[in-house]
Amino acid sequence: MWWPGDDSLLRVRPRDTDWEGVRLHVVTGKGGTGKTTVAGALAIALAAGGRRVLLMEVEGRQGIARLFDSPPLPYAERRVAVAPATPTLPGGEVYALAADPEAALVEYLEMFYNLRHAGTALTRLGVVDFATTIAPGLRDVLLTGKAVEATRRRSGGRLYYDAVIMDAPPTGRIGKFLNVATEVSGLAKMGPVRGHADTVQSVIKSPQTAVHFVTVLEEMPVQETLDGVAELRGLAQGGLQLGGIMINMVRPVDLTEEQLQAAAGGTLDEHELDTGLKAAGIEDRRGLAASLAAELTEHAREELAQRAQRTRVAEAGQPCYDLPLITDQMDLAGLYRLAAALREQGAA
């Protein structure tokens, strides 16, 4: 078996992880690769050991609510899951927040200018929409600003959250999204938002933040990941830290190397298959061996194609983590399995 067991979160012991010191985990990826699912699993993994983490989404899709099978999330931090306790470690808590720029702006106005009532009125007038519209960077800075605020929040002399995980925009938009100070500086050369953006940027471009990519082993998502990594590397001189590459939906390899090559080449021994079917007591075997051989061939070709993509992913030069394909509908049990896989591999 590829994965040592589904209960491996139980075997986790306190130890160093690959991202020690990172407190803001930004998770991006191409659409359809399971970005939200992986962000959720990472949140559970990071919560293990009695920690409190915040999982935050920024695109108004309510993907987190669906993932945790909870009612739509408001602009408020709600507990959506617990990390299971283990014999050696206490459980932990996962909070979730669906951030939206309007509410973030109202909060910002209140925090910095004591303008809560004005903010609420402006929201009704559509001014907030207007302001975030004429300055798209403003929208992003409000959302990243909210993540940074949660990351730095203190309560009773200690940090409120041990980690913040952001289900960020997809790979195609991530560079712009994170490069807020630059995006905003083109617009607001000296406005107060500029000062706010600089603060946000200083956290995002610090060792406290890492940007993880989610991909599957298919050509286009892998290409987008490599492009995204290259783009962020360009921004990395400013200190942006690239994180891991989470390879999602990895299928176990069920064939030996010899069988794999034979299957991919279409030279499987159909007679041997048929003998096996007979030994298994299957009576109506007409055409069955040929059909199963065809299925094996497809499976093998998929596996070889995935191998080629894996080599390309490795070219990015970032740590890679495998997440097993969950064949059933994704639910909490599936999320815990993914979380366990992340912990076993040292991602959290």
Partner: protein, 423 residues
């Protein structure tokens, strides 16, 4: 268990009245590949086709034998299309370039230069959420008016939600024509002053806060931009309305693309409802990456049972080795042992060596997995059909490898045209 009607792709492609095909759906479902495959198939059936994509993936260009795509339709070399009297062009939307062209076409050179250099314009034309959708529609309108092609196949931008595609163009139009933008910039225009008298108090507060948030410089940029852009404003909303009507017109066909997964089908469902409430002509649903088995008569359960006859697995049934897996966390807080006691650990290994037909056992297990996957997919599609019983559907089987060339696109097109539901 009544499947929806079959989508007749070839009839759609061959009908000379079909002038625009819009492929929409959530991200990662294969919109772009589907659009290219439909375009190729139509060209090879004798139509003059242009494929407009918003996807910057080089792979698409390469699969059509082009090194890259840009904002101008480029001919795709394809002998089969020529032989059939058709042709294929492809282009990729450059939203900034398209916006610039509108500005250049609608103002004198000095003013155009002034607009193009404005920082606010630069932000609006390259990063406003909605500009890409607006410009995709604008380009579609241009291609339609040029009338050089008799079929335009377009895929939609990878929006946050598939619905943005319909809303964003009007949002940009509304924004540029909006009262608020006029209100804010009123001091630059004589006509605005009378109106202002009614709203002075509110205006002061609004500009006050906006200045606080975005800075006075930004507001000045916006005002300069509005002043220079003034003559074009009415046009924007009008253009958005025009393209909206173009989409409703006969001759346009929407294809909703999905994969047999809950999220993608949920988005598809929203989209179908929205198209019908907006009276947009929906041609059907295409479900990509569907899994089926050539040995469907061997059920998952029987297949697994047969596999177990050949090769008993640890963890199945009452196998004693289960105790080794689950019994170790005995709640005493001690470190968990790496594996069970040696005598129990030996069991699965012994069972594995007993198997005389490992290849068959593996094949049967993989077959069972595939049957289960196919069954899950079928249930998802059925619940879609139940909610939308009259929507024609087509399925495309999952391909083991990605599409790399015209042959690959051609075989996707063939699958699409098979039309009948594969179940």
């Amino acid at each position: 268990m009544r499947p929806g009607p079959a989508l007749e792709v070839d009839r759609l492609l061959d009908d000379p009245r079909t002038r625009i095909i819009v492929c929409c759906g959530s991200g990662g479902v294969g919109k772009t590949t589907t659009a290219a495959a439909l375009g190729l198939r139509a060209a090879e059936r004798g139509r003059h086709v242009v494929v407009l994509t918003v996807d910057p993936a080089r792979r698409l260009a390469q699969s059509m034998g082009l090194s890259s795509l840009d904002n101008t339709p480029r001919p795709v070399p394809c002998a089969a299309a020529e032989a059939a009297g058709g042709s294929l062009h492809a282009m990729m939307l450059d939203m900034k370039r398209t916006f610039d062209e509108i500005v250049e076409a609608h103002s004198d050179p000095d003013r155009a230069a002034q607009i193009l250099a404005n920082p606010f314009y630069q932000s609006l034309s390259s990063s406003f959420a909605g500009t890409q959708e607006y410009m995709a529609m604008e380009k579609l309108g241009q291609l339609r008016r040029a009338d050089e092609w008799d079929l335009i196949v377009v895929d939609t931008p990878p929006s946050r939600s598939a619905l943005d595609f319909l809303d964003a163009p009007q949002r940009l139009g509304r924004f540029l024509d909006g009262r608020l933008i006029r209100l804010l910039t009123a001091p630059t225009k004589a006509g605005g002053r009378a109106y202002l008298k009614f709203v002075t108090a509110g205006f002061t507060m609004v500009t006050g806060v906006i200045t606080k948030v975005i800075g006075a410089q930004m507001l000045r940029d916006v005002q300069t931009f509005i002043a220079a852009f003034d003559t074009m404003f009415g046009g924007f909303r009008e253009r958005a309305d025009d393209t909206y009507r173009l989409l409703q017109a006969p001759g346009t066909a929407f294809l909703v693309i999905a994969t047999p997964e809950p999220d993608a089908l949920r988005e598809a469902s929203y989209f179908v409802d929205r198209l019908s409430s907006d009276q947009m002509p929906l041609a059907g649903l295409i479900v990509n990456r569907v899994h089926r088995s050539p040995a469907a008569h061997l059920s998952a359960a029987r297949s697994l049972a047969a596999a177990e006859v050949l090769q008993p697995v640890p963890g199945s049934g009452e196998n004693p080795s289960d105790l080794g897996e689950n019994g170790h966390g005995n709640g005493n807080g001690l470190p968990v042992p790496e594996a069970g006691p040696p005598d129990l650990r030996g069991m699965p290994a012994a069972a594995a060596t007993m198997s005389r037909h490992p290849l068959t056992a593996t094949a049967l297990r993989l077959h069972a997995e595939r049957m289960q996957l196919a069954e899950r997919e079928r249930r998802l599609e059925e619940s879609f059909s139940a909610a939308h019983p009259v929507i024609p559907m087509a399925e495309v089987l999952a391909q083991p490898e990605d599409v790399h060339d015209l042959d690959g696109l051609r075989s996707v097109g063939k699958e699409l045209a098979r039309g009948v539901r594969l179940s």
